[in-house]
């Protein structure tokens, strides 16, 4: 997984696309697509406005709350399903259904249950992110070699020690992979939630920009969001690289 070594030159093609964007924007072919430089300028202005800053804080707060809940609930649930056959049989079906279901359809329900505010966004992030964390944790626990658990038991490990010292660590590579995918889904959850609620955080900004045809600002906000999603994914990937060595060595 020498991702960084190969990714950098490959990602360079994105610059080509930025240039294409700039040219298309300057030609003024589509009024919806201002030149890339104008979008960057708008982004610089945007981050200095109070409305963007408060929207960002709202968005980040909802995102981190939702993610924290999803991780705290998802990992134990995944471990439970990995260890107990009954729990797996009872819950497996639902976790699978929800992990691939169009959860955007549930957001309207969240809106009436939690109101048109931040709580709905937190719930949306939680709902989008948790299932993949559960699935990956379960897969990680299932992957643990039985002899490792037998080793711990034969050396007299207590139940707590077995879970905190062996199972959690042995399943860590998959758990982190699940968290990474969960984060990506969480970002989608926060955006979809805010777009649908439309009066909170970035959703409100998107609404304002699009209603007033502020295209440069609209794109600037989109790029900031994309950048945030990619940075989050990259950070967790680095953490994953640190445990990757024993993902292979474990077998």
């Amino acid at each position: 997984m020498t991702m960084l070594g190969h990714r950098v030159p490959m990602m360079a093609s994105l610059l080509v696309w930025c240039v294409v964007w700039e040219i298309v924007g300057r030609l003024d072919l589509i009024f919806l697509l201002p030149p890339f430089s104008a979008v960057l300028a708008a982004a610089v202005d945007l981050v200095q406005t109070a409305s963007w800053q408060s929207a960002t804080i709202t968005t980040l707060r909802a995102f981190f709350f939702g993610m924290a809940l999803a991780i705290v609930a998802g990992i134990p649930l995944g471990i439970l399903m990995g260890r107990s056959k009954i729990a797996d049989d009872l819950l497996g079906m639902w976790v699978n259904i929800f992990s691939s279901a169009p959860l955007s359809a549930i957001v309207p329900v969240l809106m009436i249950l939690f109101g048109f505010g931040e709580k709905t966004i937190v719930a949306a992030v939680f709902l989008f992110a948790i299932w993949i964390i559960v699935l990956d944790t379960r897969a990680g626990v299932r992957h643990i070699s039985p002899s490792l658990i037998e080793m711990a038991l034969s050396y007299g490990a207590s139940r707590t020690a077995l879970y905190t010292k062996i199972i959690l660590w042995a399943a860590l590579p998959e758990i982190l992979a699940g968290i990474r995918l969960g984060l990506i889904r969480g970002v989608k959850g926060v955006v979809i939630g805010q777009l649908l609620v439309a009066i909170v955080g970035y959703g409100a900004l998107f609404e304002t920009f699009s209603r007033n045809f502020l295209m440069a600002e609209f794109w600037a906000l989109t790029i900031i969001l994309f950048g945030f999603a990619l940075v989050v994914a990259e950070l967790i990937e680095r953490a994953e690289a640190k445990v990757e060595y024993y993902a292979g060595a474990r077998q």
Binding site: L32, D89, N96, V109, I112, L113, A139, L181, L230
Partner: protein, 275 residues
């Protein structure tokens, strides 16, 4: 050296349906436990509805009654008729375009360099933000909704196809060359068949994403079809009808995915078909 592209398929998706490492199909699972699981889910829902946890939380029973009511008066059929058009169109277009682009990028270095980073970004980024934009350009009709489906479905299909084509079994390529296969024969008889399981997994993820896209489009762009049914019943506080509609689209998406899984095993995976 191929860049490693990670898509969700490798970890998530329909793990137990897909068999996963435990390699058991959904049919092998004890039917009783599955039924019990459904019954428990319904029971918990019923109890939660009866407490009630919220004024906007109907019981399971009421929701089922509402579901059959919507079926009986034809409003559900009408809604799906309109929802399925952009969905099917968008998914089919994404499938052809995505498999084509992915194969091209897998075989052609320049295409890979130009397109794959963009799709990696689109895959990781919340592309739903584009949906309001699509409305500006294409209005509120069928085109906009089809595009919304494609925006969500295309990246995962392209990336899975690309990954599958790039990681094709090297020894089969050498075998084909040693038996005098031409470039075209190598692609048609080795690369595509070898890649087809992963491509198909990508298509399944694409279909799932397409469902998200069509629901979003109908909630964000203009209320039609299922989105209209949800919005309409919410505005009238007919929560049972609203829940029934949402449940139906989740059920439909799940059934579609299970069906695709079944087709995949039948068509592409002789080694998974069982004895």
């Amino acid at each position: 050296m191929a860049t490693i592209v990670r898509t969700e398929s490798e970890a998530g998706g329909l793990a137990p349906f897909a068999g996963g490492h435990a390699a058991r199909g959904w049919r092998d699972q004890p039917v009783m436990l599955r039924l019990l699981s459904v019954v428990l889910f319904a029971a918990i829902w019923e109890i939660a509805g009866r407490i009630p946890v919220s004024f906007a939380f109907p019981t399971f029973f009421d929701t089922m009654v509402a579901f059959f009511g919507l079926l009986a008066d034809g409003s559900m059929a009408k809604a799906y008729l309109s929802t399925l058009q952009p969905l099917v169109l968008g998914v089919v277009l994404s499938a052809f375009l995505g498999v084509g682009l992915g194969t091209l990028c897998g075989l052609w270095r320049t295409g890979e360099w130009l397109l794959i980073p963009m799709f990696i970004v689109l895959q990781a980024a919340p592309v739903a933000a584009f949906i309001p934009m699509v409305t500006f350009i294409y209005g509120i009709g069928m085109t906009a909704k089809t595009l919304a489906v494609m925006i969500l479905a295309l990246p995962v299909i392209v990336l899975n196809t690309y990954k599958a084509v790039r990681n094709v079994n090297e020894s089969l390529l050498v075998m084909c060359r040693s038996f005098l296969g031409t470039r075209w024969q190598t692609v048609a008889k080795i690369i595509l068949p070898d890649a087809s399981p992963v491509i198909f997994a990508g298509l399944r993820l694409g279909v799932a994403a397409g469902f998200v896209g069509v629901v979003l489009a109908e909630l964000l762009i203009t209320p039609t079809g299922i989105g209209d049914l949800i919005t309409f019943h919410r505005s009238r506080a007919d929560y049972a009808e609203m829940y029934a509609t949402i449940g139906s689209i989740i059920a439909l998406s799940t059934l579609t995915l299970v069906f695709l899984q079944w087709v995949e095993v039948r068509v592409f995976r002789p080694e998974k078909r069982g004895a």
